[in-house]
């Protein structure tokens, strides 16, 4: 019953946001900010169009590759820094510092190296994602309670059994949190790259729409990206909570 009421409350907030949007649109005028109704009708024929599909595919490709790179390198660095105490102590503050820097300033360097290619987008996205994945993986390994390791030894588990049956289940929820945050910031990185300089992709499309004052298109793209990120985050969060409950 409380879950029902909460769902109703959340719906009320969504409705309130749409109403505020409507009010704002009235206030600033339809050209600067189209209202919800015209935007949604525009959405229905823009999203299925070939132009949207091509650019969405470009973003998706860059994002998938960037994510792969970020996860691979992030996990490797995280495991290394978690298992090797000294490298962790040396590296952690460096990674934390890098994490809170405005990485967009580095994008020109990547452009100078890779030019306006897919690789540039991928590398820039991955730079964003590596850091949280590495930091949280490292923390997950460091936070394994000592008593688990002692238990593994008293149960006379082999090293592989210990990793598979104790270490992996103990670390997975936190590692997954890193992967979830990595997902978010990698997407942001790829979109920033596309917004600054790119030949294709949804980030490129939104800037293009801005220069052409195509506000309906801008908002449509923003809404699509929001929905994608929100749903993906909800799924990852759901998996994380399930694993947490089990451990």
């Amino acid at each position: 019953m409380t879950a029902m009421r909460r769902a109703i409350d959340t719906t009320i907030i969504v409705i309130a946001v749409v109403l505020i949007w409507q009010g704002l649109a009235r206030w600033v005028g339809d050209t600067a900010l189209p209202g919800p109704a015209p935007t949604f009708s525009y959405m229905t024929h823009f999203v299925p169009s070939a132009r949207f599909a091509e650019n969405a595919a470009a973003t998706a490709t860059a994002f998938a590759l960037a994510l792969l790179l970020a996860y691979g390198l992030g996990l490797a660095i995280g495991v290394w820094m978690g298992a090797q105490r000294l490298s962790g102590e040396v590296g952690e503050p460096i990674l934390i510092t890098l994490y809170s820097l405005p990485k967009i300033t580095l994008y020109p360097v990547i452009l100078l190296i890779f030019g306006l290619t897919l690789s540039g987008k991928v590398v820039f996205g991955a730079i964003h994602g590596i850091l949280p994945v590495a930091l949280l993986t490292m923390a997950a390994i460091r936070n394994i309670p000592l008593v688990y390791l002692k238990s593994a030894r008293t149960l006379r588990l082999s090293p592989w059994q210990a990793i598979w049956n104790v270490l992996l289940p103990a670390t997975i929820p936190e590692v997954l949190a890193g992967l979830r945050i990595g997902f978010t910031v990698t997407l942001l990185g790829v979109l920033l790259a596309e917004m600054f300089a790119s030949k294709d992709g949804l980030g490129f499309l939104i800037i293009n729409a801005m220069t052409l004052l195509q506000t309906k298109e801008m908002i449509t793209i923003a809404v699509v990206l929001f929905s994608f990120a929100a749903v993906a985050n909800a799924i990852l969060l759901w998996i994380e909570h399930r694993l947490h409950r089990r451990v």
């Binding site: 959340t10 809170s100 820097l101 405005p102 300033t105 020109p108 997902f183 929100a230």
Partner: protein, 252 residues
């Protein structure tokens, strides 16, 4: 300094040295990157000439405005939301999702509405920072020990005195963490906004220098922005740690 601290310093120095060497020996093309020493000298010359003053003031000013708005309104909204549990329960899913969606994608929409001025940049800074402050405020209010309300009654304190003398100091470390995150997020958002599109500012300067193939200027500005961000973040982080240590991490 600890052993790890020394090694860290050594690693950083070695990395900069290797970069310097690679640039000097032409392993890295000078059209891609200039040696770090040249970045530094270019930056010093530019700073000394005073040509950067306007942009520094402008960018840091925008960040300061965004942070001030985020902290004040974020704290106020946090107080209100905390007082209304039902609203809070309804907003929780939005808070959990907020930093997962690329809010920044709304920057072009803001420009369309408000024009190419300071307003959209400040708004992007606030949009990125304010939710961190709201969450930190809620977190801090949640963690005020319940026993403090009893202590307040033993000392026969009124609502205002309880809020100012007990609840605020008890929540302060969490609020400070919110301020720290607000600064860090606003910095990133403002620089990114300037970078993508803005009339002026440090971020815009870097983008312009890139467009003009002016590597010396570009790298000097990059160094400046990264140095400012590092120093500010490190300072806030150190302060945060000191507070957290004094206040002690308490159970529950």
């Amino acid at each position: 300094m600890t052993r790890a601290g020394w090694i860290r310093l050594l690693v950083i120095v070695a990395m900069i040295g290797a970069l310097e060497l690679a640039c000097r020996l032409n392993f890295i093309d000078h059209r891609v990157m200039i040696p770090p020493s040249q970045m530094a000298t270019a930056l010093i010359t530019m700073l000394a000439s005073g040509q950067l003053n306007d942009d520094i003031v402008r960018t840091l000013g925008v960040i300061a405005i965004a942070v001030a708005l985020s902290v004040v309104f974020g704290f106020a909204l946090g107080l209100i939301i905390h007082a209304l549990p039902r609203l809070r329960a309804a907003l929780d899913p939005f808070f959990a999702t907020y930093y997962a969606v690329p809010v920044f994608i709304f920057y072009p929409v803001m420009i369309a509405i408000f024009g190419l001025s300071l307003v959209p940049i400040v708004l992007m800074g606030v949009a990125t920072a304010i939710v961190a402050m709201i969450i930190a405020t809620l977190n801090g209010l949640d963690r005020i020990p319940r026993v403090l309300t009893k202590v307040a009654r033993v000392h026969r304190m009124g609502r205002l005195a309880t809020a100012l003398q007990l609840q605020l100091p008890a929540a302060a470390p969490y609020l400070f963490t919110g301020v720290k995150l607000s600064v860090s997020y606003a910095f990133i958002a403002v620089i990114a906004a300037e970078f993508i599109l803005a009339p002026a500012g440090l971020g815009r300067d870097i983008a312009n220098a890139y467009a003009d193939f002016n590597n010396r200027r570009m790298y000097a500005l990059m160094l400046l922005v990264l140095l400012i961000a590092t120093v500010v973040n490190a300072g806030l982080h150190a302060w945060d740690l000191r507070w957290a240590k004094r206040r002690g991490a308490r159970p529950s």
